[in-house]
Protein backbone atom coordinates (compact mmCIF):
# COMPACT_ATOMS: atom_id res chain seq x y z
CA UNK A 1 0.00 0.00 0.00
CA UNK A 2 1.42 3.38 -0.93
CA UNK A 3 0.48 6.55 0.89
CA UNK A 4 1.99 9.74 -0.42
CA UNK A 5 4.66 11.64 1.45
CA UNK A 6 3.62 14.75 3.30
CA UNK A 7 5.33 18.10 2.87
CA UNK A 8 4.46 19.76 6.16
CA UNK A 9 2.76 17.71 8.80
CA UNK A 10 3.11 15.06 11.47
CA UNK A 11 3.70 11.34 11.35
CA UNK A 12 2.83 9.32 14.43
CA UNK A 13 4.86 6.16 14.12
CA UNK A 14 5.24 3.01 16.22
CA UNK A 15 1.67 3.15 17.48
CA UNK A 16 0.75 -0.13 19.18
CA UNK A 17 -1.35 -2.06 16.67
CA UNK A 18 -5.02 -1.39 17.29
CA UNK A 19 -4.60 1.92 19.12
CA UNK A 20 -4.66 4.29 16.16
CA UNK A 21 -8.43 4.74 16.29
CA UNK A 22 -8.24 5.82 19.96
CA UNK A 23 -5.61 8.38 19.05
CA UNK A 24 -7.61 9.53 16.04
CA UNK A 25 -10.57 10.17 18.33
CA UNK A 26 -8.68 11.76 21.23
CA UNK A 27 -6.81 14.17 18.91
CA UNK A 28 -10.11 14.87 17.11
CA UNK A 29 -8.44 14.25 13.77
CA UNK A 30 -11.84 13.76 12.14
CA UNK A 31 -12.44 17.50 12.54
CA UNK A 32 -9.40 18.53 10.49
CA UNK A 33 -9.89 19.52 6.85
CA UNK A 34 -6.42 18.36 5.77
CA UNK A 35 -5.60 14.82 4.64
CA UNK A 36 -5.23 12.27 7.43
CA UNK A 37 -4.09 8.72 6.75
CA UNK A 38 -4.38 5.92 9.24
CA UNK A 39 -2.47 2.71 8.56
CA UNK A 40 -3.31 -0.27 10.70
CA UNK A 41 -1.26 -3.43 11.19
CA UNK A 42 1.73 -2.25 9.16
CA UNK A 43 4.73 -4.58 9.30
CA UNK A 44 7.38 -3.49 11.79
CA UNK A 45 10.79 -5.02 12.40
CA UNK A 46 10.77 -3.79 16.00
CA UNK A 47 7.12 -4.40 16.91
CA UNK A 48 5.90 -7.07 14.51
CA UNK A 49 2.78 -5.03 13.76
CA UNK A 50 2.19 -1.35 14.28
CA UNK A 51 -0.19 1.45 13.36
CA UNK A 52 0.84 4.75 11.76
CA UNK A 53 -1.04 8.05 11.43
CA UNK A 54 -0.03 10.71 8.91
CA UNK A 55 -1.47 14.19 9.32
CA UNK A 56 -1.14 16.64 6.46
CA UNK A 57 -0.76 19.75 8.57
CA UNK A 58 1.33 20.99 11.49
CA UNK A 59 -0.85 21.21 14.56
CA UNK A 60 -0.19 21.41 18.28
CA UNK A 61 -0.41 17.94 19.74
CA UNK A 62 -0.65 17.34 23.46
CA UNK A 63 2.27 14.95 23.89
CA UNK A 64 1.20 14.11 27.46
CA UNK A 65 -2.09 12.75 26.16
CA UNK A 66 -0.35 10.70 23.50
CA UNK A 67 2.18 9.46 26.04
CA UNK A 68 -0.63 8.35 28.33
CA UNK A 69 -2.40 6.41 25.57
CA UNK A 70 0.72 4.82 24.10
CA UNK A 71 4.17 5.87 25.38
CA UNK A 72 5.98 3.96 22.62
CA UNK A 73 4.84 6.33 19.86
CA UNK A 74 7.40 8.35 17.89
CA UNK A 75 6.18 11.77 16.79
CA UNK A 76 7.89 13.00 13.63
CA UNK A 77 7.45 16.64 12.69
CA UNK A 78 7.80 16.98 8.92
CA UNK A 79 8.85 20.24 7.25
CA UNK A 80 9.54 20.49 3.52
CA UNK A 81 9.22 16.73 3.24
CA UNK A 82 11.93 16.03 5.81
CA UNK A 83 11.88 15.03 9.47
CA UNK A 84 12.58 18.33 11.23
CA UNK A 85 12.08 17.04 14.77
CA UNK A 86 11.46 13.70 16.39
CA UNK A 87 9.86 13.22 19.83
CA UNK A 88 10.05 9.95 21.72
CA UNK A 89 7.18 9.88 24.17
CA UNK A 90 7.09 9.05 27.85
CA UNK A 91 4.49 8.35 30.50
CA UNK A 92 3.45 11.82 31.69
CA UNK A 93 3.38 12.56 35.43
CA UNK A 94 -0.08 14.16 35.07
CA UNK A 95 -2.95 13.68 32.65
CA UNK A 96 -5.34 16.61 32.80
CA UNK A 97 -8.81 16.83 31.24
CA UNK A 98 -8.52 13.72 29.08
CA UNK A 99 -9.86 10.74 30.98
CA UNK A 100 -12.72 10.79 33.43
CA UNK A 101 -12.85 9.29 36.88
CA UNK A 102 -15.45 6.49 36.87
CA UNK A 103 -15.80 6.32 40.66
CA UNK A 104 -19.37 7.40 41.43
CA UNK A 105 -18.26 8.48 44.91
CA UNK A 106 -15.60 10.86 43.53
CA UNK A 107 -16.22 14.59 43.94
CA UNK A 108 -15.79 14.98 40.16
CA UNK A 109 -19.11 13.14 39.71
CA UNK A 110 -20.99 16.10 41.22
CA UNK A 111 -18.68 19.11 41.07
CA UNK A 112 -19.19 19.97 37.42
CA UNK A 113 -16.31 22.42 37.11
CA UNK A 114 -13.69 20.16 38.67
CA UNK A 115 -11.14 19.22 36.02
CA UNK A 116 -10.52 15.47 35.84
CA UNK A 117 -6.86 14.93 36.63
CA UNK A 118 -4.76 11.79 37.11
CA UNK A 119 -1.23 11.26 38.41
CA UNK A 120 1.22 8.51 37.51
CA UNK A 121 1.15 6.19 40.53
CA UNK A 122 3.16 3.22 39.21
CA UNK A 123 5.39 3.64 36.17
CA UNK A 124 6.02 -0.07 35.73
CA UNK A 125 2.34 -0.93 35.67
CA UNK A 126 1.46 2.28 33.76
CA UNK A 127 -1.00 2.93 36.57
CA UNK A 128 -2.69 6.30 36.97
CA UNK A 129 -4.84 7.40 39.90
CA UNK A 130 -7.39 10.19 40.20
CA UNK A 131 -5.85 13.06 42.17
CA UNK A 132 -9.13 13.49 44.07
CA UNK A 133 -10.27 10.00 45.08
CA UNK A 134 -7.20 7.93 44.08
CA UNK A 135 -9.22 5.47 42.02
CA UNK A 136 -7.41 3.79 39.15
CA UNK A 137 -7.83 5.21 35.69
CA UNK A 138 -9.66 2.70 33.55
CA UNK A 139 -7.79 2.04 30.36
CA UNK A 140 -9.55 0.61 27.34
Amino acid sequence: MIIGQIKDGIVLDHITAGKSMDIYNVLKLGKLDCSVAMIQNATSVKMGKKDIIKIGTLLDINLDVLGYIDPGITVNIIRDGKVAKRHHLWLPERVVGVIKCRNPRCITSTEVNAVHEFRLADKEKKLYRCIYCEHKAERK
Binding site: R105, C106, I107, E111, V112, C130, I131, Y132, C133, E134
Partner: protein, 305 residues
Protein backbone atom coordinates in the same frame (compact mmCIF):
# COMPACT_ATOMS: atom_id res chain seq x y z
CA UNK B 1 -0.06 27.72 53.31
CA UNK B 2 -0.55 24.08 54.16
CA UNK B 3 -3.51 21.76 53.75
CA UNK B 4 -4.06 18.34 55.28
CA UNK B 5 -5.78 15.94 52.91
CA UNK B 6 -4.13 12.66 53.82
CA UNK B 7 -2.02 11.47 56.74
CA UNK B 8 0.93 10.91 54.41
CA UNK B 9 0.95 14.65 53.66
CA UNK B 10 2.75 14.91 57.02
CA UNK B 11 6.36 13.80 57.36
CA UNK B 12 7.36 11.60 60.29
CA UNK B 13 9.12 14.64 61.81
CA UNK B 14 5.93 16.68 61.57
CA UNK B 15 3.96 13.88 63.23
CA UNK B 16 6.56 13.80 66.03
CA UNK B 17 6.24 17.56 66.37
CA UNK B 18 2.42 17.40 66.58
CA UNK B 19 2.59 14.65 69.18
CA UNK B 20 5.09 16.65 71.23
CA UNK B 21 2.82 19.70 71.09
CA UNK B 22 -0.23 17.60 72.06
CA UNK B 23 1.69 16.14 75.01
CA UNK B 24 2.61 19.65 76.12
CA UNK B 25 -1.01 20.80 75.78
CA UNK B 26 -2.10 17.87 77.98
CA UNK B 27 0.56 18.76 80.56
CA UNK B 28 0.11 22.56 80.43
CA UNK B 29 -3.38 23.41 79.11
CA UNK B 30 -3.29 26.95 80.51
CA UNK B 31 -0.30 27.84 78.38
CA UNK B 32 -2.39 27.35 75.24
CA UNK B 33 -5.71 28.92 76.22
CA UNK B 34 -5.11 32.09 74.21
CA UNK B 35 -2.99 30.61 71.43
CA UNK B 36 -5.65 31.25 68.78
CA UNK B 37 -7.06 34.52 70.07
CA UNK B 38 -8.96 36.36 67.32
CA UNK B 39 -8.73 33.39 64.97
CA UNK B 40 -11.82 31.95 63.35
CA UNK B 41 -12.29 28.31 62.34
CA UNK B 42 -15.05 27.35 59.90
CA UNK B 43 -16.40 23.82 60.41
CA UNK B 44 -18.14 22.81 57.19
CA UNK B 45 -19.82 19.46 57.77
CA UNK B 46 -21.68 18.37 54.66
CA UNK B 47 -22.59 15.14 56.43
CA UNK B 48 -23.28 14.42 60.09
CA UNK B 49 -20.58 13.82 62.65
CA UNK B 50 -20.48 13.92 66.43
CA UNK B 51 -16.96 13.29 67.58
CA UNK B 52 -14.98 14.91 64.80
CA UNK B 53 -17.02 18.10 64.63
CA UNK B 54 -17.30 18.56 68.39
CA UNK B 55 -13.66 17.74 68.98
CA UNK B 56 -12.59 20.34 66.41
CA UNK B 57 -14.93 22.90 67.95
CA UNK B 58 -13.71 22.05 71.46
CA UNK B 59 -10.10 22.19 70.25
CA UNK B 60 -10.49 25.65 68.72
CA UNK B 61 -12.36 27.01 71.72
CA UNK B 62 -9.76 25.63 74.13
CA UNK B 63 -7.17 27.53 72.11
CA UNK B 64 -9.14 30.73 72.62
CA UNK B 65 -10.38 30.87 69.02
CA UNK B 66 -13.93 30.98 67.70
CA UNK B 67 -15.93 28.69 65.43
CA UNK B 68 -18.53 29.20 62.70
CA UNK B 69 -20.05 26.65 60.33
CA UNK B 70 -22.83 24.19 59.66
CA UNK B 71 -23.39 20.57 60.59
CA UNK B 72 -25.31 19.30 57.57
CA UNK B 73 -25.41 20.17 53.88
CA UNK B 74 -29.14 20.96 54.10
CA UNK B 75 -28.45 24.08 56.14
CA UNK B 76 -25.89 25.44 53.67
CA UNK B 77 -26.20 26.91 50.18
CA UNK B 78 -25.39 23.45 48.82
CA UNK B 79 -29.13 22.83 49.19
CA UNK B 80 -29.67 25.65 46.67
CA UNK B 81 -27.28 24.01 44.22
CA UNK B 82 -24.13 25.99 45.03
CA UNK B 83 -20.90 24.23 44.06
CA UNK B 84 -18.45 23.16 46.74
CA UNK B 85 -15.85 25.37 45.12
CA UNK B 86 -18.01 28.49 45.50
CA UNK B 87 -19.00 27.61 49.08
CA UNK B 88 -15.42 27.27 50.29
CA UNK B 89 -14.26 30.32 48.36
CA UNK B 90 -16.92 32.33 50.18
CA UNK B 91 -16.15 30.86 53.59
CA UNK B 92 -12.44 31.46 52.95
CA UNK B 93 -13.28 35.17 52.92
CA UNK B 94 -14.51 34.96 56.53
CA UNK B 95 -12.45 32.32 58.31
CA UNK B 96 -8.73 31.75 58.95
CA UNK B 97 -8.94 27.98 58.56
CA UNK B 98 -11.53 25.52 57.26
CA UNK B 99 -12.26 22.04 58.56
CA UNK B 100 -14.53 20.09 56.26
CA UNK B 101 -16.27 16.74 56.05
CA UNK B 102 -17.91 15.77 52.80
CA UNK B 103 -19.52 12.56 51.56
CA UNK B 104 -17.67 12.68 48.24
CA UNK B 105 -14.12 11.36 47.96
CA UNK B 106 -11.55 14.03 47.12
CA UNK B 107 -13.85 16.94 48.02
CA UNK B 108 -11.14 18.62 50.17
CA UNK B 109 -8.79 18.67 47.17
CA UNK B 110 -11.34 20.73 45.25
CA UNK B 111 -11.80 22.95 48.29
CA UNK B 112 -8.09 23.48 48.81
CA UNK B 113 -7.73 24.87 45.30
CA UNK B 114 -10.19 27.67 45.91
CA UNK B 115 -10.37 28.40 49.63
CA UNK B 116 -7.35 30.69 50.06
CA UNK B 117 -6.99 29.48 53.67
CA UNK B 118 -5.72 26.14 55.05
CA UNK B 119 -8.09 23.19 54.67
CA UNK B 120 -8.19 20.22 57.02
CA UNK B 121 -9.91 17.10 55.73
CA UNK B 122 -12.22 15.83 58.46
CA UNK B 123 -13.33 12.85 56.37
CA UNK B 124 -14.17 12.50 52.68
CA UNK B 125 -16.50 9.57 52.11
CA UNK B 126 -14.78 6.22 52.59
CA UNK B 127 -11.48 7.77 51.50
CA UNK B 128 -9.31 9.61 54.06
CA UNK B 129 -9.68 10.77 57.63
CA UNK B 130 -6.22 12.04 58.62
CA UNK B 131 -7.16 13.61 61.96
CA UNK B 132 -8.58 10.28 63.13
CA UNK B 133 -5.22 8.75 62.26
CA UNK B 134 -3.39 11.49 64.18
CA UNK B 135 -5.69 10.67 67.11
CA UNK B 136 -4.79 6.99 66.77
CA UNK B 137 -1.08 7.76 66.58
CA UNK B 138 -1.20 9.91 69.72
CA UNK B 139 -3.07 7.12 71.53
CA UNK B 140 -0.51 4.50 70.49
CA UNK B 141 2.34 6.84 71.42
CA UNK B 142 0.92 7.63 74.87
CA UNK B 143 0.66 3.95 75.63
CA UNK B 144 3.71 2.47 73.90
CA UNK B 145 6.12 5.46 73.69
CA UNK B 146 7.28 4.13 70.31
CA UNK B 147 5.89 3.42 66.85
CA UNK B 148 8.52 0.84 66.01
CA UNK B 149 8.41 -2.92 66.38
CA UNK B 150 4.69 -3.11 67.12
CA UNK B 151 2.27 -5.83 66.03
CA UNK B 152 -1.02 -4.21 65.16
CA UNK B 153 -4.24 -6.17 64.72
CA UNK B 154 -7.05 -4.57 62.75
CA UNK B 155 -10.41 -6.25 63.14
CA UNK B 156 -13.84 -5.98 61.52
CA UNK B 157 -14.70 -4.05 58.40
CA UNK B 158 -11.30 -3.66 56.81
CA UNK B 159 -12.71 -3.18 53.32
CA UNK B 160 -14.68 0.03 53.73
CA UNK B 161 -13.14 1.40 56.92
CA UNK B 162 -11.22 4.54 56.00
CA UNK B 163 -9.68 4.77 59.47
CA UNK B 164 -7.88 1.44 59.09
CA UNK B 165 -6.63 2.28 55.60
CA UNK B 166 -5.13 5.55 56.85
CA UNK B 167 -3.69 3.94 59.99
CA UNK B 168 -1.95 1.25 57.94
CA UNK B 169 -0.52 3.89 55.56
CA UNK B 170 0.74 5.87 58.58
CA UNK B 171 2.21 2.96 60.55
CA UNK B 172 3.78 1.34 57.48
CA UNK B 173 6.34 4.17 57.52
CA UNK B 174 7.86 2.95 60.80
CA UNK B 175 10.31 0.07 61.08
CA UNK B 176 9.58 -3.37 62.48
CA UNK B 177 5.82 -3.04 62.15
CA UNK B 178 3.70 -6.14 61.60
CA UNK B 179 0.01 -6.09 60.71
CA UNK B 180 -2.57 -8.77 61.40
CA UNK B 181 -5.77 -8.27 59.40
CA UNK B 182 -8.75 -9.95 61.05
CA UNK B 183 -11.80 -9.88 58.81
CA UNK B 184 -14.41 -12.07 57.15
CA UNK B 185 -13.83 -12.85 53.47
CA UNK B 186 -16.30 -10.16 52.32
CA UNK B 187 -14.66 -7.36 54.34
CA UNK B 188 -10.98 -8.14 53.79
CA UNK B 189 -8.37 -5.40 53.68
CA UNK B 190 -8.09 -4.09 50.07
CA UNK B 191 -5.49 -5.93 48.01
CA UNK B 192 -4.28 -2.76 46.26
CA UNK B 193 -3.29 -1.11 49.57
CA UNK B 194 -1.42 -4.26 50.60
CA UNK B 195 0.44 -4.24 47.30
CA UNK B 196 1.24 -0.53 47.32
CA UNK B 197 1.89 0.14 51.00
CA UNK B 198 3.15 -3.18 52.37
CA UNK B 199 4.54 -5.40 49.61
CA UNK B 200 6.64 -2.61 48.12
CA UNK B 201 8.27 -1.98 51.52
CA UNK B 202 8.56 -5.63 52.49
CA UNK B 203 6.34 -5.16 55.55
CA UNK B 204 5.15 -8.29 57.31
CA UNK B 205 1.43 -8.98 57.52
CA UNK B 206 -1.00 -11.84 57.75
CA UNK B 207 -4.69 -12.22 57.10
CA UNK B 208 -6.80 -14.32 59.46
CA UNK B 209 -10.49 -14.78 60.15
CA UNK B 210 -10.20 -15.72 63.82
CA UNK B 211 -9.77 -12.98 66.43
CA UNK B 212 -8.80 -15.56 69.07
CA UNK B 213 -5.97 -16.89 66.92
CA UNK B 214 -4.44 -13.43 66.51
CA UNK B 215 -4.90 -12.15 70.05
CA UNK B 216 -1.74 -13.36 71.89
CA UNK B 217 0.77 -11.62 69.64
CA UNK B 218 -0.88 -8.19 69.41
CA UNK B 219 0.42 -4.95 70.92
CA UNK B 220 -2.56 -3.01 69.58
CA UNK B 221 -6.02 -4.30 68.67
CA UNK B 222 -7.90 -1.82 66.50
CA UNK B 223 -11.61 -2.71 66.37
CA UNK B 224 -13.96 -1.26 63.76
CA UNK B 225 -17.68 -1.11 63.25
CA UNK B 226 -19.33 -2.85 60.30
CA UNK B 227 -20.91 0.20 58.70
CA UNK B 228 -24.51 -0.29 57.65
CA UNK B 229 -24.33 2.66 55.23
CA UNK B 230 -21.69 0.89 53.11
CA UNK B 231 -23.94 -2.07 52.22
CA UNK B 232 -26.38 -2.20 49.32
CA UNK B 233 -27.99 -5.32 50.71
CA UNK B 234 -29.30 -5.28 54.30
CA UNK B 235 -29.17 -9.09 54.53
CA UNK B 236 -25.37 -8.96 54.02
CA UNK B 237 -25.06 -6.32 56.73
CA UNK B 238 -27.08 -8.37 59.21
CA UNK B 239 -25.07 -11.50 58.42
CA UNK B 240 -21.72 -9.76 58.95
CA UNK B 241 -22.32 -7.14 61.61
CA UNK B 242 -21.74 -9.38 64.62
CA UNK B 243 -18.87 -11.43 63.20
CA UNK B 244 -16.48 -10.08 65.82
CA UNK B 245 -17.54 -9.12 69.30
CA UNK B 246 -14.78 -8.41 71.77
CA UNK B 247 -15.60 -9.70 75.25
CA UNK B 248 -13.53 -10.05 78.45
CA UNK B 249 -13.16 -13.80 77.70
CA UNK B 250 -11.62 -13.12 74.31
CA UNK B 251 -9.19 -10.68 75.90
CA UNK B 252 -7.89 -13.39 78.26
CA UNK B 253 -4.97 -14.54 76.05
CA UNK B 254 -3.98 -10.99 75.13
CA UNK B 255 -0.82 -9.31 76.41
CA UNK B 256 -1.30 -7.40 79.65
CA UNK B 257 -0.10 -4.19 78.01
CA UNK B 258 -2.02 -4.57 74.74
CA UNK B 259 -4.39 -1.69 74.03
CA UNK B 260 -7.85 -1.93 72.48
CA UNK B 261 -8.67 0.97 70.20
CA UNK B 262 -11.82 1.91 68.26
CA UNK B 263 -12.57 5.08 66.27
CA UNK B 264 -16.13 5.08 67.71
CA UNK B 265 -19.08 5.02 67.50
CA UNK B 266 -19.29 1.36 68.43
CA UNK B 267 -22.40 -0.76 68.06
CA UNK B 268 -21.91 -4.35 69.30
CA UNK B 269 -18.31 -5.03 68.39
CA UNK B 270 -16.94 -4.27 71.86
CA UNK B 271 -18.94 -5.49 74.82
CA UNK B 272 -19.46 -2.76 77.45
CA UNK B 273 -17.97 -5.27 79.91
CA UNK B 274 -14.59 -4.52 78.30
CA UNK B 275 -14.85 -0.79 79.10
CA UNK B 276 -13.42 -1.19 82.60
CA UNK B 277 -10.46 -3.27 81.47
CA UNK B 278 -7.28 -1.18 81.77
CA UNK B 279 -6.45 -2.15 78.18
CA UNK B 280 -9.57 -0.38 76.85
CA UNK B 281 -8.17 2.77 75.23
CA UNK B 282 -11.09 3.95 73.09
CA UNK B 283 -12.45 6.68 75.33
CA UNK B 284 -9.01 8.12 76.12
CA UNK B 285 -8.52 7.88 72.35
CA UNK B 286 -11.53 10.19 71.81
CA UNK B 287 -10.02 12.68 74.27
CA UNK B 288 -6.65 12.48 72.55
CA UNK B 289 -8.48 13.50 69.37
CA UNK B 290 -9.16 16.92 70.82
CA UNK B 291 -5.55 17.46 71.94
CA UNK B 292 -3.98 16.44 68.65
CA UNK B 293 -6.47 18.64 66.77
CA UNK B 294 -5.40 21.57 68.99
CA UNK B 295 -1.81 20.88 67.98
CA UNK B 296 -2.79 20.59 64.32
CA UNK B 297 -4.82 23.83 64.26
CA UNK B 298 -1.86 25.69 65.76
CA UNK B 299 0.51 24.21 63.19
CA UNK B 300 -1.77 25.04 60.27
CA UNK B 301 -2.33 28.58 61.51
CA UNK B 302 1.39 28.89 62.23
CA UNK B 303 0.79 30.12 65.77
CA UNK B 304 3.16 29.49 68.62
CA UNK B 305 2.98 30.13 72.35
Amino acid sequence: MRNLMNITDLSLEEIDELIATAEDIIANPKKYENACDHKLLAALFFEPSTRTRLSFEAAMQRLGGRVIGFSEAGSSSTAKGESLSDTVQTVGCYADIIVMRHPKEGAPVVAARRAGVPIINAGDGAHNHPTQTLTDLLTIWRSKHTFEGLTIGLCGDLKFGRTVHSLVAAMARYSGIKFVFIAPEELKFPRYIIEEELDTRGIEYKEVTSMEEAMPELDVLYMTRVQKERFFNEADYIRLKDTYILTPDKLEPAKKDMIVMHPLPRVNEISVAVDDDPRAAYFPQAKNGMFIRMALIMKMLEVTV
